[in-house]
Every structure is written in structure tokens, then in C-alpha cells.
Amino acid sequence: ESNSKYPWIRNNDHSRQIEISDWLTMEIKDFINYISPSAEEIQARNGLVKKLRQSITSLWPDAELYCFGSFATDLYLPGSDIDMVIVSKRRNGKYDNKSSLYQLSSFLRTRGLGVNIEPIAKAKVPIIKFVDPTTGIHIDISFERVNGIKAAELIVSWINETPGLRELVMIVKQFLSVRKLNVVHTGGLGGFAIICLVRSFLKLHPRVVTGSIDPLANLGVLLIEFFELYGYNFGYDSTAIAFNDKGDAMYVTKHSNPALQGRNPFLLAIQDPHDPSNNISRGTHNLRDIKRAFGGAFELLANKCYDMYNASYKERLGQSILGDIIKYKGKQR
């Protein structure tokens, strides 16, 4: 029943908290603990990366293998895939061709390193998709694209210097993934774009920027305010998210930069910190559903807080605030 729907509240009852936002803060922390990978899972993933690195450099001694994306930044949800890129040591783009793609595919097949191996040559970024036969983890390998590595380095430095960023990103990611709004191919919001939204929100928040509050002690109210900003108030038609050279958050008008303007004014624009001529979220065509989902999350969370505030302790027992917006499907952890 209710407990199995919200497994993170098992043995973690906060219904006696006086402030409802403290209850939500504690539930956010419980949820993140719950979905964070165990020591064995981390070991299995690291072992898999090591094995692939050794095998592939035995095929191509002048190749280097890097991880990027959520695995490299430690922002992955259970069951998410591992993104890797092969770069030649001389940085001469040697492996950026179809023959490398097919050579590696057959190498993975004959060595038994992967199942369901799918070389995708026609994509904008050619990749090989496959599944590790022992762990069942999905792996994507691309060739000679270094921007993912640069983005991962930036994200790691942002996570280290922005308390609360990791926690809010994990919640927003899980929220969007349940609604299938986190896949860029289908118009959703990608991982880097989510990180930019959360960082911008935290860096411009009047209480956070003045040091009046510690974000880690206020995750509950900050989560509701994140949904309030991007679900209700943000002026998507005219305003773009940007970061200066020091990584400070700012807004710029969309018409200040042609790269931020699309045919449709109602599009999210995030200026790429490494390349101002690129809009990170240009593939996010489905802003309408994303904004509606954020607004709905704001409503649900605020209403749950009002209900719980006006409820008796008996009525509060075993209740989840987060459970109204996040359903965790998957095997019991």
C-alpha cells in the first residue's frame, strides 16, 4: 500500500515536524539516500568502465576512453546508461569515421563485451549502443567529441561549489524521467539543461545569494520555489539563462544573441557556458508539457503542505509529501 509506493519513507517518519518545509527537506534527503547507488553498484560500474578501457586500448593503443554525462558527474539515477567517448591521443580525429564505428562494433561482438550491439552511423553524433552482458547496464560510445568531457568537468566543479545543487538536480531528474520529459530526442530536457536551471535558480535566489540560508537545510522550500519559478513565473519568451566567465548566473534577453532565438518564441534558451553561439536546450521542443509539469508539481506540493499543516498527527502518520510528485517504480532497493 502507501508504504510500498513510497519506499523511501520506510523507517523514516517525519510527520511530527513542526515546520512542513522541514518535513519535506528530510524526505528529499531520504529519497536521495534511497536512490543513491550502493557500494556494490558503484563497484560494478567502475569495474565495467575499467574492463572496456583495457579491451579497447588493446584494439587501438593510441585511443583514450573518457566517461561523460551523468555517470562522470555522479548524478545518475538507478539503471541509467553510461556515456563514453573515444579520443585519439594525438587529438587528430582519427576515430571519427564509419569504419571505426563498424570495427569497434564487431570487436565488441567477437570479444563478448556486449549484447544488442547497435552501431548508429546516421545520427548527428554517430554512436554505438550496447548492453553489458553481466550487469545489464546500457552503454553509449561516441567518437572524438570532447565537448561532453568539458561539460562534465564544469558540472563537477559546479556541484562542488554549490550546496544543494546535486540534491535538487536528482529530484528534478527523477520527476522528469517518470513523465518521460528527460529525453532530448523526444523534446524533453537533457541532464546538462536541468543542471543549468537548478544552478541558475540557486545562484539568483535572494536568500541563498546573500548567505541568509544554507540550501542543504532548506531543500524543501527551495524545491517548491524551483517549481514556482519555472512552472509559473519564468518569462520563456524573452528571457535566457546564461553564465559569465566566472560561472556566475545571469539572465540575458533572447534578442541579445541570435543563437538563443528560435522560430517559436516559447522555447527555453540556455546559453552554453563554453560556446555562446550554442543554445544547450535547443532540442527541448516540448516546453509546454515541461512548464505544465513544473506548475503541477508546485500545486501538488503546496496543496499537500496545506493539507498536512491542517491535519492531525494521526492523519499525518505514514504520509509522504514528495510521493505526490514522485513515484518510484523499480525493484525494491
Partner: protein, 89 residues
């Protein structure tokens, strides 16, 4: 008519937009850092941007430009000068 007015008045924040049991203060409550009496908050001039018109110097709740979001902002949001520490408002 007067009854309806009464119901939509919040004695906690003196707003006419909601009743006490739906007051945003129920969830918009912060655990603030404690500082000693002579702590001075620095004015975050470089981090005050408007979510509505993108300009620096004011927050979106105080924007005088035409609001582009079609979703109304009835109770005010986190992005208002009123949410700065008391000394900076």
C-alpha cells in the same frame, strides 16, 4: 459578499488572496543562518535579475514590463526584494 471577503483574508500575512489555511507562509519558511549582531549582509547587486524581462537591478515580482508568462502570480514568489534579508530590503 462580506462573508466571501472574510474567508479570503489571511490574518497571518494580511493578504486578500487566500485564507489562513492556504497561506504560502506554511511552506515558504526558511531555516536562516545565525549571525552575530554586527554581521552586515552584502547587497547582491550582480545577482539581481528579472525572470520576466531579463534585466539586472530588480526581481521579476517587481517588474513593470508586460508579464510574458500566461500563468498568474497571485501570491508573489521567492524572487522579490521582500525576500532579501531585512537590512537590504
Amino acid at each position: 459578499c462580506t462573508e466571501k471577503k472574510k474567508y479570503n483574508y489571511c490574518t497571518d500575512c494580511e493578504s486578500k488572496n487566500h485564507s489562513n489555511d492556504r497561506c504560502p507562509n506554511i511552506w515558504r519558511s526558511y531555516i536562516t543562518n545565525s549571525y552575530n549582531d554586527n554581521h552586515v549582509f552584502a547587497y547582491p547587486g550582480n545577482a539581481i535579475y528579472c525572470y520576466n524581462c531579463a534585466r539586472r537591478g530588480h526581481y521579476g515580482d517587481e517588474c513593470v514590463e508586460y508579464r510574458t508568462s500566461k500563468t498568474p502570480n497571485i501570491n508573489g514568489s521567492a524572487f522579490t526584494g521582500d525576500n532579501l534579508p531585512k537590512e537590504l530590503r
